[in-house]
Point group: C2
Chain length 441, copies 2
């Protein structure tokens, strides 16, 4: 993408309304624009990150056997009356009426609707296990939305729902999502630690939050240092093997880990001081087992191998991709801006032409751009006539993993400079070597 044809509205000043660093940097880097309280447009740079994050989530959901669907945002109140949540949910639910005066709502979550889909079609235990997920906008009418997309009203959520014959099956489904989440966050460069959680308004009796550590995190968390060295399950993990998956979950739930609400001081004090890690954390995922909480009132049952009807045992599994992006920035930034992990960077590199109009600089840039693009790399080519200082500041702010700097003096020597955004290391090298290093095929 040529920057001259891109829409990247960088802000020079720190926006006053932004209280946390991710909000500030997302506004400054032109990733999002606030449209109303707790409501954001994702501008081109932000949309690219959102897509990359969603792709990783999707790949790991699919790998774990979940199937993607898409449920509508607007739901009928009728469904929520069946589960009893229509009256119970409170003012965070955005309620509305259509032109025929029917009560509707903007879905804050989808347990009822997916249970309705299930009961409409599935009759036999032979069709289980089943796990359906979607990535769809949700609305929760927070009384005081803030922190940008970290706590907004309209937000994207990946929510998966598992259906099994009995608790044993549901536990296996829960474990698959648990392991899927470990892989998902690791692929984004994050250190995520599962912590036993309160189940809240979703209900249920088994739940984990996935917390990433970030100095600017919203809450206090406590865990054993062992987490930092636990091996993360690889791409070859066999999600069809309940024992293997269960073993991974066991390893990741054995050391102590707790959020503030669930913290047990007496257990904590029994852990050696050098092994305790007390830090700030941000919740990026939440999984629940809630058994028959919805299947029973809504009549979602299957015939079991015993010929009898069984209400299915369910779980739900959420990740907020929009919130997750803010969390990634909280974990990876410096004074100059964002430092994207490669897997979710909006572009793989910035190609900085120091002197557009100079025939040699232009030629080298065009060739580099064509070569890397052909190799499948996403290159943001800064072909604008901004001053060099401004170009460097922009590249640092938007945080692409690499900067390739093409100036007249280097080009005359057949060289370019490459800079690693994370380490700050700069290296001058032959043009072909730079192309090679950055992925030219």
């Amino acid at each position: 993408m040529r920057l001259s044809r891109y829409f990247l509205p960088i802000l020079k000043e720190n926006p006053r309304e932004a209280e946390i660093v991710s909000h500030r940097l997302m506004l400054r880097a032109g990733m999002v624009r606030q449209q109303a309280a707790g409501s954001f447009s994702w501008l081109p740079l932000g949309k690219r990150v959102l897509d990359k994050v969603c792709r990783i989530i999707r790949e790991e959901q699919d790998r774990a056997g979940a199937l993607e669907i898409m449920m509508p945002t607007i739901q009928s109140a009728e469904l929520w009356r069946e589960s009893g949540r229509y009256d119970a949910y409170g003012p965070e639910m955005l309620r509305l009426r259509d032109r025929h005066e029917r009560d509707m709502l903007y879905g804050p979550t989808n347990e009822e609707m997916v249970t309705d889909i299930f009961r409409s079609y599935v009759r036999s235990y032979k069709d289980l296990p089943l796990n359906l997920y979607h990535i769809q906008w949700k609305f929760r009418d927070e009384v005081r939305p803030r922190f940008g997309v970290m706590r907004s009203r309209e937000f994207l959520m990946k929510d998966a729902y598992s259906f099994d014959l009995d608790f044993e099956g549901a536990k296996a489904a829960y474990n698959r999502m648990f392991v899927s989440y470990l892989r998902t966050f690791t692929r984004m460069g994050l250190q995520a630690i599962p912590m036993r959680a309160d189940t809240g308004p979703i209900g249920g009796d088994l739940s984990h939050e996935f917390i990433i550590l970030a100095e600017t995190g919203e809450s206090q968390v406590y865990c054993h240092r062992d987490f930092l060295s636990l091996p993360v399950p690889g791409a070859d993990t066999n999600f069809g093997d309940d024992a293997e998956i269960g073993g991974i979950v066991k390893a990741w739930t054995t050391p102590y880990a707790a959020t503030d609400e669930m913290h047990e001081e007496d257990v904590w004090s029994g852990i050696g001081e050098n092994e305790r890690l007390s830090a700030r954390g941000i919740e990026v995922g939440h999984i629940f087992h809630f058994g028959q909480k919805y299947s029973k009132p809504m009549g979602a049952s299957v015939t079991g191998p015993d010929g009898k009807e069984h209400f299915v045992s369910m779980g739900s599994y959420g990740i907020g991709p929009s919130r997750l992006i803010a969390a990634i920035i909280e974990a990876f930034h410096d004074d100059n801006g964002i430092i994207w992990p490669e897997s979710v960077a909006p572009f793989d590199m910035a190609l900085i032409n120091m002197k557009p109009g100079d025939a040699e600089c232009d030629r080298v840039c065009e060739e580099f751009y064509a070569q890397l693009s052909a190799a499948g790399k996403d290159v943001l080519y800064d072909d604008t006539d901004q001053r060099a200082g401004g170009k460097f500041a922009t590249a640092d702010l938007i945080g692409l993993p690499w900067q390739v700097i093409v100036g007249p003096r280097g080009v005359a020597a057949g060289e370019v400079e490459i800079k690693n955004r994370r380490t700050g290391e700069r290296e001058t090298m032959a043009i072909a070597a730079a192309a090679q290093k950055l992925g030219a095929s």
Copy 2:
């Protein structure tokens, strides 16, 4: 994907509520489920088609220079009061209030919001042309939603918005989208004919509908037969060349073409009888130029090369991917079910194991499945123990372009049968040859 682990709730009976063939087939093939009047969940098979359709739309929008963003579904009424449309829009707009009693609405379209984004950042003609699009759910509270996703209340829409300094620039932007739409629909196997259109509530003075021909189309259309042989612009079309793009638009707007509302009987009767094509059509895209209709009341202006402020000249460009899928089915089906064009088929082929449990059938299927999947093909492997007749009926109904039939007799001879869903042609061939023909690398 193994069918035994997939969620494909086929209906054996024709659902009574479905009045048109696409609605009937989408329900029967387990693509969608109705959740409320005019509101649908997309089940796994439907979601795959939706993704493929959106990917083509996205690629062609990007090729034409449009930039993808994502605006929220819920909008502030304030914005719509600025343009004057909040009161003008009528009961199709879903209005609501948040917990602070602020008037909000579920966006039926996004002219106001995107104009707000524009005016917040863009100051100079040097930042033009600009075209921003998103693919987002919309809500229009139709008084009588029907025909499935063809006329639903909550629907997906790709809406692009162009911003230019003057009419000339806006016309060039309009032309780029015009050509982009020709390519988009052609890639989906559709014959789309642009027809001059009424501008309706969006307003403006230049507008085309893109109509595809289908026997079961909703409206009567009239056009010159020349359209059927006009060359569609290729992937090498230079969207940076206004003259080239303008020439294509000229060629595609010269022969007579009109919907019922815009039909001029006297012009029509002047066309030779053999050259007239009177047919049924379905609208799948709509583009508008509306100049300063929103930029003026909302104060979206840039400094021109003359140093003066100019309200920008705008256009909007819509395609409804969910509706488009129904239109594709209206155009491509037979008595047995859907016949997907390859580019939007949910899977490339059905692999039908006629005798699961038979060691040789299983082995051949597994190898075939692994080989084609590794080559990047989407294979739906029917490994269920359903009877052969049911497997064939399902494969025909869901309309994958190819069926690969693996039975014990063929396998003993080293052969499989492949069937082309569109032509019905069957061919028995060596296993390796079949794999080769269907894309094994």
